[in-house]
Subunit: 247 residues, 2 copies
DNA sequence: CGCTTCGATATGTCGGAGTAATAGGAAGGG
DNA sequence: CCCTTCCTATTACTCCGACATATCGAAGCG
């Protein structure tokens, strides 16, 4: 099989220890598709050819394609080959698809879209959380807030704490459908600070906004939590908008 | 391989002409998992055993599992086997998962959750649509409305028109993230009329509500569209709530 | 000129062999 | 008695080569 020793090198680049091979292929192709390397309507090379090109067996390649098909990125038919579907068919809220979208520099239009969704969902979610949260969920939010205070938003720990805070609020809604948006909102939250960080050094401390949301949820103040979250998201949107336009 | 002729019968039940075999297996197992036949934490039989039980090859079985894995329903690891993940890991907004959830009588809590999300998203979406819709999208809404008027909501055509109306509004937002919620909202919309139909015969004609939403969007009245959609969803929620409680 | 038939081609399905990773227990040390 | 380390058996993962099936395009017929 091995014509040269280079095969092993190429293979090591694709496969990381612990990761499944088909998963690695799915990641690679998923990122390539989402980032526009293959345009919607494009037909991929045949199974045998493409699998050979990637130095994987046809089985591994096919399993990777099933993953992409399951997420609405591609569609395969006998004789016709495998073609990339239009964006409207993609499950853009799927956690993996989101990860692929943000693996390289994401599309600005899509970041805006995600923010708009966030602006719609999160205030309402904060209101639900204020009404239904239990002690444990409140403690999770407090813990995340403490971590945000300790680490800067410049560090990965700080951003993780920020995401955890928002995720804890979504959990506290007790609504499975809303919680399914956690990945999408988390991506938006993360990218906000990423953008702001890039533009200037902490243009405004976002912590007070978070504290106001937390206090309202702790006090079971539905309207207050909704309002506090609304202003938080609006300010974040404004900052991100500036940072994106400024670049 | 065939011990008895019954194998072919069982196989015909699983595989329908035109459908891929692994897709059929994914559907079957997906429905079984989502409807609670396998509880979270349960370990599925081994590859060889389960594939044999379903009368499919390991390849087809494995490709089906990749689909379920991609949608967050299961997780496979060597030695540990394949186990069903907790509900919180499921991509409940994935179109296929939603279809599986509604294939049998869906969980009432989940229907409520979906409605709550709908109540949050759709009014805002109607507002965006009012601001951004173009002539073509408006025509789609008008067409769907006409079909709703012609066919009763008791017929499948009528319900399809209802779904199309709401889908057209989501499309008119021009927001990809919002449009990704179309499957979830469509399922909620469909199940509403389904429930209402079951309870009594058309307790209230929902058409005027839809017309008010359409008129506001046509007039580019953002606030009016938001309000009209809010009342539409609230009334639908009340009706569905009654129907679910009454059963 | 339009419809039907037929063949080439790529995906879909199959079964088996061999590899790699890990859970879970056994053995050893604290 | 509990904790840590190692080992092994089990299981999923990967690869291979063959065959089945569906689809598109072209040739042939009406």
């Amino acid at each position: 099989m091995n014509e040269t020793g280079d095969d092993d090198v190429e293979r090591a680049a694709v496969r990381r220890p612990g990761r499944r091979l088909h998963g690695a292929v799915a990641n690679k192709l998923g990122i390539a598709i989402v980032s526009g390397e293959y345009a919607p309507g494009d037909v991929l090379s045949g199974e045998v050819a493409f699998a050979e090109e990637l130095n994987v067996s046809r089985s591994a390649y096919r399993e990777a394609m099933q993953v992409l098909t399951a997420k609405g990125l591609v569609e395969s038919r006998p004789k016709a080959g495998t073609r990339v579907l239009p964006r409207s068919r993609w499950n853009v809220l799927d956690p993996d698809v989101l990860a692929w979208a943000f693996a390289r520099t994401p599309d600005r239009k899509f970041v805006r879209d995600l923010f708009e969704l966030r602006a719609v969902v999160e205030p309402a979610a904060a209101g639900m959380a204020a009404a239904r949260r239990d002690r444990l969920q409140l403690a999770e939010m407090r813990e995340a807030l403490a971590l945000m205070r300790r680490h800067s938003l410049a560090s990965e720990e700080g951003r993780a704490a920020d995401r955890d805070f928002h995720k804890a609020i979504l959990r506290a809604t007790g609504n499975d459908a809303v919680q399914a948006l956690a990945a999408g909102i988390g991506a938006a939250v993360n990218w906000t600070t990423q953008f702001k960080q890039r533009a200037r050094e902490l243009p405004r401390n976002p912590l007070p906004d978070h504290v106001r949301v937390f206090d309202a949820i702790a006090a079971q103040d539905v309207e207050g939590a909704t309002q506090a979250m609304r202003t938080l998201v609006e300010l974040a949107l404004a900052d991100t908008q500036d940072a994106m336009d400024g670049e």
